[in-house]
């Protein structure tokens, strides 16, 4: 730690991410969200849905009547859907398809478009 004035370009606000890097890092973030929120949530939903008839009707009524809860559940599963979409993109790139700069840009935009369309469609179903 002698030379403390070394230039370190790790300021995340100054670095401009290319869109393919953006989908890659959000894939990771989505993965963390899924493990810590969607996974416990789905176990809880399974608990409500499978124990008995009362809990099942309670769950369906809650999802129909409370738009906050419906939004939270839908958002959690949309994050999972985003992770799947970008994950499929990564799997295709692992097979050495579409690895060029241009192709990865196009596939990122394509994945984002599909996800935004599904977000809008889900919002239309809920509200």
């Amino acid at each position: 730690m002698k030379n403390d004035h070394r230039p370190v370009n790790i300021n995340l606000l100054k670095i401009k991410l290319p869109i393919s890097a953006l989908t890659s890092i959000t894939h990771r973030l989505a993965g963390m969200y899924i493990f810590f929120i969607t996974y416990p949530l789905s176990v809880y939903l399974f608990f409500l849905a499978s124990t008995n008839q009362e809990n099942f009707t309670y769950l369906t009524n809650m999802l129909i009547n409370s738009s906050y809860l419906a939004t939270f559940v839908a958002f959690s599963f949309l994050v999972l859907w985003y992770h799947i979409l970008t994950g499929v993109r990564h799997l295709i790139m692992d097979m050495h398809i579409g690895e060029s700069l241009q192709a990865s840009k196009v596939s990122s935009i394509f994945v984002l478009c599909i996800w935004f369309i599904s977000v809008i469609a889900t919002a239309m179903v809920i509200f």
Binding site: G31, M32, F35, Y39, F46, S50, F56, T57, G87, L91
Partner: protein, 135 residues
């Protein structure tokens, strides 16, 4: 203990499992989870508006029980590898040292705690789910 040892010893570049095996495990598990999700989503969409009896029959079938058990085991493996990768990428003395020198000193300890946290959480939820599915 083995899992904790495995994740903790890894920062010294010392691997107990071949890196390519971990890589293939994560990819193969993701494909299996994807197929399982399609299977469940197709059932839910095909039986909307969903009734309890229909759902109960579906969730009592042996295929559902077996596939849920294996799919959530795959999720456990997949998530363990992914979260462990994130830990070894960001919770290291080098990466945290970019932010703060004192943070870099507690990087190894915080990574160990983070590894224990997600391992325990994942296993607990998995065993609870197994209880729900099979009993």
């Amino acid at each position: 203990m083995y899992l904790v040892y495995f994740s903790y010893s890894n920062c010294n570049g010392y691997l107990l499992v071949k890196g390519s095996t971990i890589w293939y495990l994560q990819r193969c598990s993701s494909i299996f989870i994807f197929i399982y999700i399609i299977y469940v989503v197709v059932f839910i969409i095909s039986s909307l508006p969903i009734a309890f009896n229909e759902w109960f029959l579906f969730k009592s079938s042996l295929l559902f029980k077996l596939s849920t058990t294996t799919a959530f085991l795959s999720i456990l493996v997949h998530a363990y590898i992914g979260l462990w990768t994130i830990g070894t990428d960001y919770l290291t003395p080098r990466t945290l040292g970019f932010l703060n020198f004192t943070l870099s000193k507690i990087a190894d300890t915080s990574r160990l705690l983070y590894n224990i946290l997600f391992t325990v959480l994942g296993l607990l939820l998995y065993f609870y789910l197994l209880l729900l599915v099979w009993i």
